[in-house]
Assembly symmetry: C3
Homo-oligomer: 336 residues x 3
């Protein structure tokens, strides 16, 4: 099947991300996202060819709170491009945080590194960081911990499974109120259009109105809200699972009752299409039974790999390094 790529006509210059910081996906145009998806797929097929592309470049991972999964993904991405990594994680950063502003830390690190990935407990920290320096800063999570490269990982997984990120019925299941990952995914998919969202949650954890409004405002996306996963799982092309956190509930009983309803297991999976893809931002606790891992529909560990590939695509782009053999402006793939 031929790949379907979002229907936008692009000039080469539109792809240009050199020197750009990415705090939210609003910093990246839809054509640029398509470009990154194509680039990640190229990288996946040509790891040896790109293994020296960023030789001599240095990534600084400034993790003011630990997030090992995300940090290792960024670091691996840089190493697999042939670059170097410096940085700190959590407890190590004592001297940095002791009274020094984020701006000063960034201005210091800009003397060491060519690109920064920052994670910080305070919302807005990544924006402040990006405004402080001329080198590109990538948000690896601040405040609500939504971050653009997580959404890029999600998109790459859909692209990898379906060769498209449009014309899909996508279920989002679990905690839709606080799960900012799903909010970001919906907002981004709405920029491309032609997605039907099936929003599956207990009434206590429904999708916020502003996200629903965003879907309504799109030309071609629609949604429905349901409470029963088993009733709709058969309709879905993809099912995005999220954690249902105990602390969201008033009492233990509610938590226990609801939690099980939204656990994906082999029994529920029997009702799904054979080609459905199961996504999850990880780490999971128990919302996906481990018996699902060996089902070919399980895509959540692939998602980890796709996250790394998208970080390679993004970092090589903002650094302005060329990937040998990659056609920057592949018009064949960019068509209506």
């Amino acid at each position: 099947m031929a790949d379907k790529i979002p229907p936008v006509q692009l000039s080469k210059s539109q792809f240009n991300l050199v020197g750009r910081s990415v705090v939210t996906l609003d910093d990246v145009s839809a054509p640029q996202i398509s470009y990154l998806l194509r680039k990640a797929r190229y990288i996946s097929d040509h790891l040896p060819e790109v293994s020296q592309a960023a030789a001599g470049k240095i990534l600084a991972t400034l993790f003011y709170e630990p997030s090992t999964r995300t940090r290792l993904s960024f670091e691996t991405a840089m190493l697999r491009l042939g670059g170097h990594v410096i940085g700190f994680a959590g407890a190590q950063n004592a001297s940095v945080s002791k009274g020094e502003s984020i701006a000063d830390t960034l201005k210091t690190v800009a003397n060491y590194a060519d690109v920064v990935a920052i994670r910080h407990p305070k919302e807005g920290a990544a924006l402040v960081a990006s405004k402080s320096v001329d080198i590109p800063v990538i948000n690896a999570g601040d405040g609500g911990h939504m971050h653009p490269t997580q959404t890029l990982a999600d998109l790459a997984t859909l692209q990898s499974r379906f060769s498209r990120i449009t014309d899909l019925t996508i279920g989002l299941c679990g905690d839709l109120t606080f799960g900012r990952t799903v909010h970001s995914l919906i907002e981004t998919l709405c920029r491309f259009g032609n997605v039907k969202f099936v929003l599956i949650s207990p009434k206590e954890l429904k999708m916020p109105q502003y996200v629903l409004d965003r879907i309504k405002a799109s030309q071609s996306c629609t949604y429905e809200e349901v409470t029963d996963l088993t009733a709709v799982i058969g309709d879905l092309d993809a099912l995005y699972m999220t954690r249902v956190q105990k602390e969201r509930f008033f009492n233990e009983d509610d938590y226990l009752r609801l939690r099980d309803t939204y656990i994906l297991d082999a029994a529920k999976l029997k009702l799904a299409k054979p080609t459905m893809a199961v996504l999850h931002p990880l780490p999971r606790v128990n919302e996906i039974a481990t018996e699902v891992d060996s089902d070919p529909r399980a895509a959540y560990f692939e998602q980890v790999k796709n996250g790394m590939l998208m970080r390679m695509a993004l970092m090589s782009s903002v650094l302005g390094v060329k990937l040998p053999g990659f056609a920057e402006d592949d018009t064949k793939e960019v068509r209506a």
Copy 2:
């Protein structure tokens, strides 16, 4: 003097460790251990030649509890093979340990790395890790903190000093009850045979029966149990010292009385053969006086280097990378 190598006839395929996890030394055959010893010696003599052998490969060091010595040894080994390193150590791993299973962490990391070294406070963690993924997992200590590459370092030090790991009289001194390092060394040497073990400890810290049974079950190894180091030191080819930990004793007096008996110093060393090798797994506290360090018989810092070389040999083997100039199947060296 010609090297004596354990008398086993091997086919090339027996050496094959590609893709293999090493949780205990039971995962490695005696011929494979001989092969690793030969490989480590080759590496030691050809560091520049092997310095790009693992280019593009990534080691993940997953240290759920800190062990700087072991972590740095693995990391140096990978870097000296030309590969990259990612990972976490102790306090950094908050996000990994927060509710995520070891299996899930490994399945995630398998998307980043080509080989894993894991250290974990819980016995069995390394086995669980190795069962979770297809990439090779090397146990860097779990539970009792015995780990196979420590024993490989010990064997390499004997090989380096005596050009053999058989036909030796080896004293093991100190805490023989809880010192799992010496248990592992004895069990491995018994697979090769022709070692006389002299077990030197206070009666409170004698060798467990199952280890004695293992020696008895071997065809050609023997042991004797003694309490006085000075009485036997003159007979030994090698003396393996261990820490005598205060918390093993009921009272301070017993500890102080016994501790000094098992401290190796220049005076005791005068009674030893001029070629005796002193080993110690490190870190030492005070069981070897620092005056011994400058004695040519002190082999414990060499042991550190040998540990790194054996980790280079083991990682290059499980990764299946070729070492330029190394004869994989050197039949000349494999003879009765």
Copy 3:
């Protein structure tokens, strides 16, 4: 303007720092400092050429207390020379510090690394470390946290701004009693001579007598002590700002009153020469208003870069690696 280099006739051998540890700047001769300044300038202009100079070499950063700024500078310096980095920072070092002496840790690490940068809370730790091993050890701060590469960064910034480190009027402002960075800078500049120091501090935080004596003992350096920054700022070629720490004062009122007097802002800067350079060892708290950052006289973030360049110069020198194209013995630049 032609560079002025300290007036010493040198033989090539005097430059030789191979294998040398640097615990204080007393370990480096004045000609060697000039050599390092020239080397750092060369590196700055030839980063691509030197990017593989230390290929295969390993730096160990042993940070017994965190100092992210300094650690990242050393690590970047090594990476930009093409070498590798291993190490620990703060909380990670539990197993190293648990009962093991610094000497033993160094003897272990000497099997892994080719050069060590050590930071330790105890004064004298770096000296002990350097005496324990044959590989070069660089002090990255012990006890009072003065360290030689900070002073080298300061000198390189003066050299970069004025093409000389002599024939300057240099103001040092703030806490001159406890600020060991300025003590070290003064002592080193006195070895080169022809500097007029203007010591600007509240009477509670005056320069210690032994530093004044050092200036007096020099042939060509002088000083004056003042309390008012604005009165002298117009005379200065360079102004070295330091933190005024709250805990140095008996009461909050004194602190608040004095603090503001020694804050550099745009208003005070209007009184200064257009070519004056503002230095600060960083991190700053509020002793330099952020509005100063965009003034071309602000040199404190340049200082960060110069620190990295001097660490590249120093590490390449003690490692004995050649920098392609660099003239080790440039007699043209070494003249009276």
